[in-house]
Amino acid sequence: MIRVSHVTRRFGSTTAVDDISFRIERGEIVGLLGLNGAGKTTTMRMLTGFLPATSGSLEVGGFDVLEHSLEVRRRIGYLPEAVPLYREHRVQEMLAFQGRLHGLPRKEVRRRIGQVLERVGLLDRERSLVGKLSKGQRQRVGLAVALLPDPPVLVLDEPTSGFDPLQRIEVRSLVAELALEHTVLVSSHILPEIEAVCARVIVLHRGRIVADGRQTELMDALGEARARVEVAMGPAPEEVRGLLENLPCVRRVEDRGVSGAHRSFDVFADEDVRGTIGALARREGWTLRELSWHPPTLERFFARIALDLDPQEKTIRATAPTPPGAGDPT
């Protein structure tokens, strides 16, 4: 449904997006992650045809974004980060305007207005002035505007900014519902949201794709799962560490130092090793205060990429499909 092939975008001497390639299939919901200035918004703007790419090609629904711009625009519902709305209009007028821009018949526009307002939970605000709504409500109107023409592709740039925690949960489940009928590309820097909604993530860093794949596979590739062990003081730390390192599936052990009357260790392993550590503790007569398992999170993964990884050297790619003819962006 979406095909991005070797796309670069420069602003003067700054390269905002640097030779990225990816492909999104129909019905997929993909999270675009990255720090501020990583190139998320630029990528989305190029997909919607607002910004031309300096080089490379983008396709939506089989249409080239530059050559068949109007066909692409008909197929995309776009919610920009700034949520552009005419504040002097009523909610229904704003939605009707979007319907007319997309050439929908009047009857169909009326029907869709009811549907989308119900979907975003603003049915009682149909006659309200946009300028009188709260920031969260305006965000939801923006989402309703993007949904109104029922486009096959939704591009949502930071759709939950301005929402309170409860609204975030609502929008998260709404976006998950949308994925049943639409292909969704959603950007956010709030990682738990992407973690909860998107099976696949594309991570941008300094304009380059540094990771692309299903979350679980990316976590496996990262290998950051660990058990936290707190042992009462007594046995020599080197001895404990050595015994833990010799357990099956353990990659490495880090001594986290003394905390009160206990010493903490992080045991990095390929699978949950709490059972084998418990058995070892019983055998060796250690007193444990804590034995817990911490699977890797997207947050940790992202922090690792943003802080440690040099994108020039390493790209994490799991099972994301590569567009035919598009090279691997490593």
Binding site: R45, F50, P52, L70, R73, P84, E88, H89, Q98, R100
Partner: protein, 249 residues
């Protein structure tokens, strides 16, 4: 020009939803009424056609220099800042429809403001005077064409400027230059070049084209084409500037 009507309707509604438009309309009414009564009582001794001629020859030009920039200043520059332009340029409508829809919405508003003088004509007609209806209609058509030209210039300025205030200032400056174009000849060229420059500026003079036809009640297609050429050229340039914005965002 897909979506032109939608953009035009939205912009016109947007104008009437803002207090500025109503203030400008009321101010135009009061301004026209003041000068019309003055012309009727002092200038023409009660001759209606003379008063209407005077209105279109003098006071009208002050309005047309200042009103279109104030109407158009926000249309692109403000929308570019607020993100509305991004919304419109990613909707399935062409850039030309967006630009033309906005320019013609401002023109429609100006057409309404220019209709104040024909309205005065109707009122004095009801009181027993005999206005030259043909001349009045021609004057109104001319006023709308001149307004459309200045609205297109305002849209161009709005597209090329970063803020509405700068857009309005530049457009007013450009309007003044256009209105007084023939007077610039002595400053632009001397000696042997002066004559051809004067001739060129005379041909481009907007006031002369208005006076030569519409003001006297003659609808000459050459003058209509003159105004339409200016309008199309300015709209074309505005579309190009909007397209350029995509590269500079």
């Amino acid at each position: 020009m897909r979506g032109f009507r939608t953009i035009f309707g939205r912009e016109l509604a947007g104008l009437f939803l803002s207090p500025l438009a109503w203030i400008l309309l009321c101010a135009t009414f009061v301004y026209d009424a003041f000068f019309f009564l003055y012309a009727l009582e002092q200038g023409t001794g009660g001759e209606v056609n003379g008063a209407l001629y005077y209105m279109h020859e003098g006071p009208f030009w002050l309005l047309v220099v200042f009103l279109p920039p104030l109407l158009t200043m926000r249309m692109i520059s403000e929308e570019s800042r607020s993100g509305m332009l991004e919304f419109l340029l990613t909707a399935p409508v062409g850039d030309a429809s967006v630009v033309a829809g906005k320019a013609l919405a401002a023109t429609a508003f100006m057409a309404l403001a220019a209709a104040v003088l024909p309205l005065f004509g109707v009122l004095v007609g009801l009181l027993g005077a005999t206005p030259d209806w043909g001349q009045l209609v021609a004057q109104w058509i001319g006023a709308v064409l001149v307004s459309c030209l200045f609205c297109s210039l305002g849209i161009f300025s709005s597209a090329a400027s970063g803020t509405p205030l700068v857009a309005a200032f530049l457009a007013i400056l450009a309007n003044i230059v256009l209105v007084f174009l023939p007077m610039l000849a002595p400053f632009l060229a001397r000696g042997r070049l002066r004559e051809p420059v004067e001739w060129t500026l005379d041909k481009l003079a907007i006031q002369a084209h208005f006076r030569g036809s519409f003001l006297t009640g003659a609808l000459d297609s050459a003058h209509v084409v003159f105004f339409l050429s200016w309008i199309l050229a300015l709209l074309f340039l505005s579309v190009r500037v909007v397209e350029t914005k995509r590269w500079l965002v």
